[in-house]
């Protein structure tokens, strides 16, 4: 009997610590700054336990029934805590609020457990023995949980399932208590039924844990992940939902197959269609081969050189049946030459000249990527322009990141080129911007290749008209020693997100 009693102490102590560890781990995992998260969560949790202990004095009658219902509540709140937190992070803005509410709720309930249990047991044992035993098993439970958590639970069960399993333990203790203390509570069908309901609920949760963590893990990727690989350069993720394929690089959406034609037609044709004599084209970045697909619509183009950093990216888009279908096998076309190299360095060590250059890099989310949007880069790229040639630069959103956009335009200009900014609406991106740079005056093309889905001779000139809310704002050029763009960009997208 007494062993069974103290075993429950051991279990509820372990459960209590597990919820605390889960909250701390999840918060560090999702928000970063481990020291801050663990400190504040442990602090709040212990404080809430204090509240629980204090509140226990107000419980007078029916202590066993109270204890059982508290166990059930801990089981439900604690058991679903990590699912709730994951989903809160994925789908709401209120993650921190949910986090601390859960921590305080669980802490308060856990704080009630031991004082109640000791009062229930005080008739059966001497006080001296009781305190000693209860606290010993309490601390042992904590030790067990703290060892189990990193060694077994996180690697084998994951955070979502671990919480659910320990929720079941709480409910199990509740159920067990209805038998252990049956003299004190008599026939307690309601309580026992409650226990079964909670166990069932948590059991179902455990079965569906994978779905929950998938839904949360892929919060950004709302759809099914069909390919994911971390290369030395980036994390490549492909998702699919019905006929919509999406590519994410480091969690940033690169395209959606539903509307990428808008983006890529607008990237290539306003520039290339204006160069009827273009023979040699250079694509920097753009390892998905979609810009190349558009360029291949020009029979006059003899060679296309694609320089992309990541061999995994170009391999995927050359060989993956779905992906190479999307780019119409552009990367394996005889006119296309794929080079895996760092674009800036490659340009610096080459002397080839091109009629048309496409700079299709990911947005300047870091100083490292920001280098590819500097005056120094555009100056170097301009040296590779054949006489009369053009360069086009993907330049982020002139609506969401207006100053960033005009900063890129200014940087191209500072490199000594005339600039022709334009934009297009891509539903999955929003308003998107480009800029054409040229030594010679440029005019939008009067003719376009056939078979385009978005651009026509009627609307191509309209792309160069900027509505009032996207018109130029003052911006410094982005330079290697002063990357204002990275700071503009971070600020502007932060403002969009909040």
């Amino acid at each position: 009997m007494s062993i069974a009693l103290f075993l429950s102490v051991f279990l509820i102590a372990a459960c209590g610590l597990i919820y605390e560890l889960i909250a701390g781990t999840l918060a560090s995992y999702l928000l970063g700054d481990t020291i801050f998260q663990f400190s504040t969560i442990i602090g709040c949790y212990l404080f809430a336990m204090g509240i629980g202990s204090y509140l226990s004095r107000f419980l007078h009658r029916g202590l066993v029934a109270r204890f059982v219902s508290i166990e059930l509540m801990v089981g439900v709140v604690g058991g679903f805590s990590s699912s709730l937190l994951f989903l809160a992070f994925a789908y709401t803005e209120a993650f921190r609020l949910v986090l601390y509410v859960v921590v305080i709720l669980v802490g308060t309930l856990v704080g009630l457990e031991i004082p109640l249990l000791m009062r229930i047991l005080k008739e059966r044992f001497q006080f001296r023995e009781l305190v000693s035993h209860v606290l010993t098993f309490d601390y042992l439970g904590a030790l067990g949980a703290s060892l189990l958590f990193p060694i077994l639970l996180v690697p084998k069960l994951g955070l979502v399932r671990s919480a659910l399993v320990f929720g079941i333990f709480n409910a199990g203790v509740a159920l067990w208590s209805t038998y252990l203390f049956r003299e004190q509570i008599g026939r307690s069908h309601y309580l026992r039924a409650g226990c079964f309901v909670v166990v069932a609920l948590l059991g179902v949760g455990t079965i569906f844990a994978d779905r929950i963590s998938n839904a949360a893990d892929n919060s950004l990727y709302a759809d099914e992940v069909i390919f994911s690989r971390t290369t030395p350069y980036q994390r490549i993720v492909l998702t699919k939902w019905k006929d919509d394929l999406r590519l994410f690089l480091n969690s940033h959406l690169q395209f959606s197959s539903r509307d990428e034609y808008r983006y890529h037609e607008a990237l290539v044709h306003p520039g290339l269609a204006a160069l009827p004599g273009a023979h040699h084209v250079l694509v920097l970045g753009g390892g998905d081969g979609l810009a190349v697909r558009e360029i291949l619509k020009y029979p006059s183009v003899e060679s296309i050189t694609l320089v992309d950093l990541d061999p995994e990216m170009t391999r995927l888009f050359s060989t993956h049946p779905v992906m190479s279908g999307l780019n119409q096998h552009s990367l394996t076309n005889a006119r296309v030459h794929v080079i895996n190299a760092d674009a800036f360095r490659w340009l610096d060590t080459n002397t080839e000249q091109y009629d048309f250059i496409v700079a299709d890099f990911p947005d300047p989310t870091s100083y490292a990527l920001g280098k590819l949007f500097t005056t120094a880069f555009y100056r170097l790229a301009a040296k590779h322009l054949a006489s009369g040639g053009l360069i086009v630069v993907q330049s982020t959103s002139p609506l969401f990141a207006r100053q960033s956009y005009w900063c890129i335009v200014e940087s191209v200009k500072q490199a000594g080129l005339r600039v022709y900014p334009y934009h297009v609406y891509v539903p999955s991106f929003g308003e998107w911007g480009y800029v054409i740079g040229s030594f010679e005056p440029y005019e939008p093309p009067k003719q376009l290749p056939s078979g385009l889905r978005f651009l026509s001779t009627a609307n191509v000139a309209e792309l160069f008209v900027f509505p009032v809310d996207m018109q130029p704002v003052p911006a410094e050029p982005n330079r290697l020693n002063d990357q204002v763009l990275v700071r503009y960009y971070e600020q502007e997208w932060k403002d969009v997100a909040h």
């Binding site: 760092d342 800036f344 870091s366 590819l372 020693n481």
Partner: protein, 505 residues
């Protein structure tokens, strides 16, 4: 039966054994000491016997010392169309504190690694940089202006941009930063703090107190500000603020108001400048020939090396001034000149340590570390992605008296310094031991002049500024601190003097 004593003792014995067994085996790190120069220097100090030179050559001007001062003197002579001179360097590689190295990943500096963007008034530095193609039509080449992000500081368990401590600074600290910068602005507007320092410097009571005392006197009690100023003194002078002249401490901050965000830097640091000068001047350069004696003989000066005796009309002594009394017959000891011992290390990393959410900067400093942090050699690469790099780790042994520091530098073996360096870096990079493959360490006993209180405006220093007849002293230590611009200025000034002696001024 096991006795109680044995029972107690057992874990004490087994414990360490288990820890030893289970300790994560760190990957082996290769490396050693490189460029040791003290054996040569100590031969001079100990007045060792040197073989008599086999040949005698008549050369109007001899420059001794192939560091930045000697190279600048040679640069000036050559530019003025004077070609009849030699530049003698005792090491196999010229460049002095601007020497550099190279491995399969990158070139890297051995000491001096940047030049602040020279102000309009520093015409000499601008002239050189124009000649080297770095300054064109008043515009600096953007590829040699230090890329963004320039500096970061590891403080309170995370990286912040810039090395002025912001993280955890209180409003009181910020108010003191502001007041400090205002104060510096006032000093700047006096026009007395310039580079090179001799241009406008005026004797000042500030030189007689230490930088630390000046901070106290001005009521600057902020701990992070104190750390920042102390760091600046350690970094530029190899001395603590309490051992640095307040004038020199203020000069560090007040002498510069760059027109462009800098500094100028290259993967190999100032080795880039040295390499170009060496290339231009190689016809004059004789390396590996230590000058062990300089003797006056009538109006000429006999300069003795192991191979050749040069007979010159004028001598430019661009080697450290303290060496003069060991080599030049009748030269007095260089009293008051103090030199900080330094240790620099180049670490080859074949993996980049986990940066968490921070981006590596060019200069990376750890708050409250006794060392000065590290400079990343691949920072000036155009690449967006590097998977291997070289870090140059700097450590001025500022908390020791210079002699003590030098003794320590020689007393400890490579393994000791290697562990010290890795332990220091592990504060900010816990995975550093999994990333480092090789560490070369360079010990420099007399690395930089130390502007101790009272030195800058002392009679002693003044005495060495004047030529001794047809001997001209040119080392940057004459300015009290060792920076590129001072070395260049002293070298060119000495060259001008020498040209007057040979009648070519």
């Amino acid at each position: 039966m096991i006795s109680r004593r044995q029972f107690v003792a057992a874990p004490a014995l087994i414990g360490p054994a288990l820890i030893g067994l289970s300790r994560k085996t760190d990957r082996p790190v290769t490396g050693g000491f490189v460029n040791d120069s003290f054996p040569l220097g100590h031969r001079l100090r100990d007045r060792a016997a040197f073989p008599k030179p086999a040949q005698q050559l008549r050369v109007p001007i001899v420059i001794v010392g192939g560091g930045m001062a000697g190279l600048s003197a040679a640069w000036h002579l050559d530019k003025r169309g004077f070609h009849d001179f030699v530049l003698l360097e005792m090491e196999q590689q010229a460049g002095g504190n601007s020497r550099w190295g190279e491995n399969e990943i990158s070139r890297f500096p051995w000491a001096a690694h940047y030049v602040p963007v020279p102000a309009k008034g520093d015409s000499l530095a601008r002239e050189l940089f124009e000649e080297l193609g770095v300054l064109r039509d008043g515009k600096w080449d953007e590829r040699v202006l230090c890329f963004d992000p320039q500096e970061r500081l590891f403080i309170n368990g995370r990286w912040q941009e810039g090395i002025e401590p912001e993280d955890g600074a209180t409003p009181k600290d910020r108010a003191q930063y502001r007041r400090f910068m205002e104060k510096i602005g006032e000093f700047r507007s006096t026009g007395q703090f310039t580079v090179p320092m001799e241009n406008r410097a005026k004797a000042s009571p500030l030189d007689r107190m230490s930088m630390a005392d000046w901070l106290v006197q001005q009521g600057f009690g902020s701990a992070p500000l104190g750390w920042y100023v102390n760091y600046a003194c350690r970094d530029d002078y190899g001395a603590l603020a309490k051992d640095t002249s307040a004038w020199a401490g203020i000069q560090y901050f007040a002498s510069r108001e760059p027109e462009e965000k800098g500094p100028l830097t290259w993967p190999e640091g100032n080795g880039w400048i040295a390499a170009r000068l060496i290339d231009k001047l190689k016809r004059y350069l004789r390396t590996g020939g230590m000058v062990y004696g300089v003797v006056r003989s009538g109006n000429t000066i006999r300069v003795l090396t192991e191979r050749t005796e040069y007979v010159a009309d004028a001598l430019i002594w661009a080697a450290p001034t303290f060496l003069a009394s060991y080599v030049i017959e009748g030269a007095p000891r260089a009293e008051g000149f103090q030199y900080s011992p330094w240790l620099t290390a180049n670490l080859t990393l074949d993996r980049i340590p986990d940066q968490k959410n921070a981006e590596p900067a060019w200069d990376n400093v750890i708050y409250d570390s006794p060392a000065l942090g590290y400079v990343n050699a691949t920072h000036m690469s155009l690449a967006t992605h590097v998977d291997r790099t070289v870090w140059t780790f700097y450590w001025s042994l500022a908390e020791y008296r210079p002699e003590e520091g030098r003794r320590l530098l020689l007393a400890r073996d490579w393994n000791y310094w290697k562990e010290a360096i890795l332990n220091d870096l592990a504060r900010a990079h816990p995975d550093i031991r999994q990333c480092v493959a090789h560490i070369d360490i360079m010990r420099i006993g007399h690395a930089m002049a130390r502007p101790s209180p009272g030195f800058l405006f002392s009679e002693e220093r003044g005495r060495w500024l004047k030529p001794a007849g047809n001997m001209f002293f040119a080392n940057s230590d004459l300015s009290g601190f060792s920076i590129f611009e001072e070395a260049q200025y002293r070298g060119v000034e000495a060259a001008r003097g020498a040209l007057r002696v040979v009648g070519r001024a």
